[in-house]
Symmetry: C2
Subunit: 449 residues, 2 copies
């Protein structure tokens, strides 16, 4: 059986490896339009800052590594159309521009997502970049080493924007973030976001809220300033468009493969599209929010890996299921770690729950143990029954630990009463005697009906 | 109503605070035979090493702090007997040696535990110590500053023994550990323990296994050597007895309060003893292992706090339940963190499960992100159905995070299949793209029937 996988970054390569492990007799082919496969896009901001000293480090595996397992990887090949009736692809060699038709038995779409780039004046000027893949990284590195930018504007105050603000700070580039919404990080509840905002200001990042990108001004083909919708002019020799990403679904759409409500490819829990025999995984497809049961699009590297594993198993003859996500995410900006899992209080309300919540300060060590750091934990539960619905953790120290405890609690459908008596690991270097999440759950329990 | 609490370290003070919060109209009295109340015994090894620069820091609250809430704390008062029929205590002032009778309406026993000290020749020599409470700390500090010991022997290779080995190393005291069992850390599975053993050796700690303490030799009233059961003589100017603790149950026993199978006071989930109106909490009472359903004695500070909270609520008229423990524990020795939750593979077998397990190396960051550290994770599941039964994590980096994810998974009765698709927080500085526990759960799933 010939399995073809379109896209070779996270979901595609994971699917290939899994399919091969399930049944090494299948022929497995990956078509990837970029020159690199199997890289960690999440590492890109750290390569730009220099924290990761060599961009090649974020490339996990080379085509030769796949070849050893009998997985054929074609880089710089683009699949331009799918004929599902004939089970045939049209594939273009991007180097030679030649095209060929290739038959498949099973297909996995792992076409990923791409940055949303507004069609505005000046968008093609030199110095205007996005950060999504290895080619973008090359453009960044070239710009940084040849032009030595001094003033950057980042359009969009999401994860990538805030990670890049730190990267630019490391490079002594003065940075302004412009965000159309009235606050940064709209997935978080309002009261949790202010400390992040303040922390950015403390690190000399300027933030303009409630204002969008109107046009870009240039000189000799290079960007020199950003003009906002309200008419502000901000000088810039580097502009990053980071207003969000969209799923790459054109190929699927043209082939009549159904999209979901989120605009990404619709799949069942086996990662099969509505077109039998064609699977999808990663940033190009949607999934289910395990709390609301509603479709959600969650284009993140770890989810892509989980979905790729399931699609790879099923395409090779197995029967695995991907149950959906809780929307867990984490990122770092300067000294703050910012993390979320489940629903925010606002999202819980919108989903029809009657949430109660608590925000409390926590610490990662006993209060007498040196070097301890603080964070704020918000815990959200359903007023009826007390089931935990979500958590947000922002600060220093073990933010990642707290959010993963909360994410595991959501997975176990635990209530405040359950968490109040959790048996978590205590010793002075690792935790206060009662973990913050235990204390928070106890107080939250008292707010239930 | 007058509530009397016997013991004022962890469970006792927590119970008092909780009872006061539930109903501030009750009269609440704590009798504590030590001079200090409300301190963190878990911090003691770090005061000895100097990591915590002042022993007073591990005292959380003073009697005056309790007095502000109307809780009366009598330090250096010992309850010598309980007359349950009369609801009356005999209380001795340890300073004046005077005794009085005090009536109570409700009683909480929080008498704690004390080190097991073998009745052998030389046990009373100067330089032979235990480490359990603030008085012990005083003796340690005096000895360290006046005698400047050079060679220590620690009897017992449990948590306290291994924590102290590190403390002594910090103080340039050459240390030998003697353990009667044939390996250190018997609660862990054998294959997990060897790296800890090796790490101790690397740090110049000598370890003698399968040999017990026979007698102590002295000169001018001071210890100079340890003689083992096999006849080994080990020079020592400091000997620490750390072979374990036992619950302080004499008072309860004399009053006819029933003990459990473990030898600690038997309680129900409300923390009430078999004698109605008398509650117990903390190291003096037993609890339930939530996986086996069997009684277990788990004398740890965090559990004492959880139980104290429940006893305090119930004694004041509430109705809280403590559901038991998973046996979660963590400690640090030199550069290694050692943690466990649930059953070891051996304990699972003994409890009648048919466990399967996996040991795998894990890391706390993306493999290309600088500063990452490694640990070994052992995950144990029930072959039938795949419910997770336990985890052990040993190494550097986020050991505490891994064990708390596992402990929360046990709380949620999660299976390998559940954990395989956990939605944990990923970003390169905080985790590999798939958390080690996710990968381990996936592999373990393939070993199930």
């Amino acid at each position: 059986m010939r399995i073809i996988i379109i896209g070779g970054v996270a979901a595609g390569t994971k699917a290939a490896a899994k399919a091969h492990r399930v049944d090494p007799n299948h022929e497995i082919i990956i078509y990837q339009d970029e020159a690199e496969v199997s890289y960690s896009a999440c590492g890109l901001p750290y390569v730009i800052s220099g924290v990761i000293d060599d961009g090649r480090k974020i490339v996990i595996r080379q085509p030769e590594d796949f070849a050893k397992e009998g997985i054929k990887v074609y880089t710089r090949y683009r699949v331009t159309s799918i004929d599902n009736a004939k089970q045939q692809l049209r594939v273009k060699n991007l180097e030679s521009n030649s095209e060929e038709l290739v038959d498949y038995d099973r297909l996995i779409l792992a076409t990923g997502a791409c940055p949303i780039v507004p069609n505005i004046e000046g968008i093609s000027l030199e110095g205007v970049l996005t950060l999504r893949n290895i080619s973008d990284l090359g453009r960044f590195k070239t710009l940084l080493t040849t032009m030595h930018p001094k003033k950057a504007v980042i359009i969009g105050a999401g994860y990538i924007g805030l990670e890049l603000a730190e990267s630019f700070h490391e490079l002594n580039i003065k940075t302004t973030i412009i965000e159309k919404a009235t606050r940064i990080l709209p997935k978080f509840d309002t009261e949790m976001v202010q400390p992040v905002h303040d922390h950015l200001l403390e690190n000399q990042v300027e933030i303009i809220l409630g204002d969008g990108l109107d046009k870009l001004h240039g000189e000799n083909g290079r960007v020199i300033a950003v003009e906002t919708e309200s008419g502000k002019m901000i000088p810039a020799d580097l502009v990053v468009i980071a207003i969000g990403v969209k799923p790459n679904v054109e190929l699927a759409k043209a082939a009549g493969i159904e999209l979901g409500k989120t605009g990404a490819i619709a799949v069942d829990s086996r990662m099969e599209t509505r077109t039998p025999g064609i699977f999808a995984a990663g940033d190009c497809c949607e999934t289910v929010n395990r709390i609301t049961g509603k479709p959600i699009w969650m284009p993140l590297g770890d989810i892509a890996n989980l979905q790729g594993r399931v699609a790879g198993e099923n395409v090779a003859g197995g029967n695995a299921h991907f149950p959906g996500v809780f929307g867990t995410a984490i990122f770092k900006t300067f000294k703050l770690t910012v993390a979320i899992t489940g629903l925010s209080e606002q999202a819980a309300q919108e989903a029809g729950f009657k949430p109660v919540s608590i925000v409390m300060k926590g610490t990662d060590r006993a209060r007498y143990y040196p070097g301890r750091q603080e964070y704020a934990l918000k815990l959200i539960a359903d007023r009826q029954g007390g089931r935990l619905l979500g958590a947000q953790v922002i600060g220093s120290g073990n933010v990642d630990k707290m959010i993963d405890i909360a994410a595991t609690a959501l997975l176990g459908k635990l209530t405040c009463a359950d968490m109040e008596n959790a048996d978590l690991a205590y010793s002075p270097p690792f935790s206060p005697v009662l973990s913050t999440i235990i204390v928070a759950a106890g107080i939250l329990k008292s707010k239930l009906v």
